[in-house]
Symmetry: C2
Subunit: 433 residues, 2 copies
């Protein structure tokens, strides 16, 4: 496409918008995440000498294109919702305004970045909503789809309200708190479980979290009580025990009793293993005495809804609005703005999608400038700031949309009269000959 654009001089300004076409299954809302990684990608985008040589050798493109790519940089504008903002289908969340070849080249990677973090933040928020007072830790690295997914899942989960992750790199890269316990292999490598517990406590006196289900969970808890007494003399406190298998409600209740009866009321219970927001809700509803949850695979692959129907579409080229009209995939043309109104109780009431050139609507304008001429406008937001925003937004969600079940009453998103008019005009203008 780029070769053709350059050959035919199609380098006027193009406007693309990223949005989700349909609400994913099992969801009432989505949380926008991944903008920071898009900005970093756009700031650093270029072709290396090696890539250019490979392209030329491939014989797939002409020298003219290779020469243009050698000097390729993203020099356009980005407007977007702030990370951590709630959004709904058909709302543009990010807009690229750039020379057509620039705006086109970035499509696949831009979608790849925004899709995954938005997918995961939207899932993680549901865990936080059903477990507002529990410690929630991302345990999903091993079965996330690749290294980047593992790392960025930790970020998306944290934005949506998780307390931390077991992915160590996420602390180094993003400052996300990390939590670690031990593997069953640690216990198995020792000649006895008691010896494993004791060694671990002495090696990590400040973070004694003991995995007690390797052989028999209740007997594991009894050993913890005995060990707690001897460690007390040395000034070492056991912080928590972890369960990772079996009937969690049943086992956690027994373990809580064993610990309390043994004067170990301060030791908290950490649970993991096949958890997600549905299981969390069940356990919490039934009064399961677990204080912290490690949530892994089902979270980091968004198991019940593993993709978003998100797209990046051309809405304007060379000053003229454009529109795709493929069956079932029609888009709204032009560059747009989203206004969000609150009800008297402070909760979100409805959104209005307008043309950016329309008169200001009621409520907060959600699409704001993020990059100008290829440079970011403001310094990167801290992750804490984004996490606070996400928390504020979730607190403002209409109450019926905070449930796990899909609400029959969808959040209202309306298209402005100006936008509808434009769509009609575009249809008339493009006879598609």
């Amino acid at each position: 496409m780029l070769q053709s654009y350059y050959e035919y001089g199609m380098e006027d300004t193009a406007v693309f918008e990223f949005f989700v076409r349909r609400m994913p299954e099992h969801r009432n809302f989505m949380i926008f995440a991944g903008l920071e990684q898009v900005i970093e990608y756009l700031e650093n985008l270029h072709f290396s000498q090696e890539e250019l040589e490979w392209l030329e050798r491939s014989g797939r493109v002409n020298v003219g294109l290779v020469n243009r790519l050698a000097e390729f940089r993203f020099s356009g504008d980005v407007h977007a919702m702030a990370e951590g903002t709630l959004f709904f289908p058909d709302e543009p969340v990010l807009r690229i305004t750039a020379a057509l070849p620039e705006a086109q080249l970035i499509e696949s990677r831009l979608i790849n970045i925004l899709h995954y973090q938005t997918l995961i933040a939207s899932k993680a928020a549901r865990c936080r909503l059903v477990a507002p007072d529990k410690t929630l830790i991302d345990f999903g690295m091993r079965r996330a789809h690749g290294a980047e997914a593992a790392l960025l899942a930790a970020r998306a989960n944290y934005i949506a309200g998780f307390d931390g992750t077991a992915t160590v790199q996420a602390e180094q890269d993003f400052g996300i708190p990390i939590f670690g316990t031990m593997a069953h292999s640690y216990i198995q490598a020792h000649q006895s479980e008691s010896q494993a517990f004791e060694n671990f406590a002495h090696s990590h006196p400040d973070n004694v979290v003991l995995l007690i289900d390797t052989y028999d969970t209740r007997r594991g808890a009894e050993k913890v009580v005995r060990l707690a007494k001897s460690l007390e003399k040395e000034g070492i406190a056991i912080k928590a025990v972890r369960l990772d298998s079996g009937d969690l409600l049943d086992l956690a209740t027994s373990v809580r009793d064993i610990l309390d009866d043994g004067d170990c009321g301060d030791i908290t219970i950490f649970a993991s293993g096949d958890l997600d927001e549905y299981r969390l809700a069940e356990l919490i509803d039934s009064g399961c005495p677990v204080d912290a949850f490690g949530i892994g695979t089902r979270l980091d692959i968004s198991e019940d809804s593993p993709s978003l129907d998100c797209v990046y579409k051309l809405q304007e080229y060379s000053g003229q609005a454009r529109r795709k009209r493929s069956e079932g995939k029609t888009t709204w043309p032009g560059r747009k703005q989203v206004y969000r109104r609150r009800a008297d109780n402070g909760r979100f009431e409805s959104d209005l999608v307008t043309l950016a050139s329309d008169a200001r609507g009621d409520g907060e304008a959600l699409i704001v400038p993020m990059m100008h001429k290829g440079k970011r406008i403001e310094p990167a937001e801290t992750l804490e700031r984004i996490r606070e925003r996400s928390s504020d937004q979730l607190a403002s969600l209409p109450r019926h949309l905070t449930a796990l079940d899909v609400s029959a009453k969808r959040y209202p998103v309306e298209m402005s009269p100006g936008l509808k008019d434009l769509a009609e005009q575009v249809d008339k203008h493009f006879s598609c000959d």
Copy 2:
């Protein structure tokens, strides 16, 4: 864990095995993929100065551990099935034999690599089985979970029999054939669809594949017929048209008629949009005249079964077999071998899992040495060789397991008497006190 291992001198030889505990939903078999990336990871594993300084500053580990990590290299052995081999639950597919801290440290990333490629190859093979004569292209980059997933999905899909990918990097990194068409935005950016087709053909005379569903698919096909005649005079042939929306059976049938009636019988039809093996089977069964399929999101996220219940477990330490006995998660102890027997018709009949030290079983021994003392034993296999193996293996699968539906008759995997005895002995030995 490493800090504790080093402090207590637990550096004897450990044996870990990677395996899948349960057949994933909607699957009759799995295809092993990702070994090459594991070997590369193990060959290059070390801590950078920056990482060591960060670890030390974090205050989370002691200086003794930081010093050990500064010289950390993987110096163990790897045994595994060859990539492209079919396998089943409870069969070890990879075995690590190394000093306990080395074998432990690599756990999360090793699982992360093997899980994803095996997941995707196992899904892609189903597409190949239902469409043996069609061209199949991986279109999943944009909604794969992150950049690494996009790239490694292309590799896994190719191993399992796909013809290529739209992820350009996969040709540069792995030599996988790449296929590209155009985006709807390319069409939309032009004042008319006809102009877009014509420009594209002139820019890419060797690869004229035209996307015809942006406005009206049948009218798009009519334009292609007209354009074909004028391009013919210039010696340019249109290779294919692509459909990406609507009722594919209905539209492809109409488009085929339009092309044939217009003397364009050589132009093939390429289809994409929400495809997977189920949809492929439906379209092919109903005689849909599509020659090539671009399969994206549902493939690269393995939508109907987005994770494998795969684990990496300690099976032996310091010469003694070990076993995890957590509820529902019991493992088979010791270092193991898998023998695969064929029936008289040449198809696979049954597998026997034995202890590696047992007498040789019937059939082919699937677990072979891959690395010794941290170095690979043989040069890396070519992707073509792995792809051939996968194809041979699929051709040897019992016929009832090649269907999309889950067979009630599972592939037989038996544990040897020696292995069962060892499990009993281990249970007696570890009283878990």
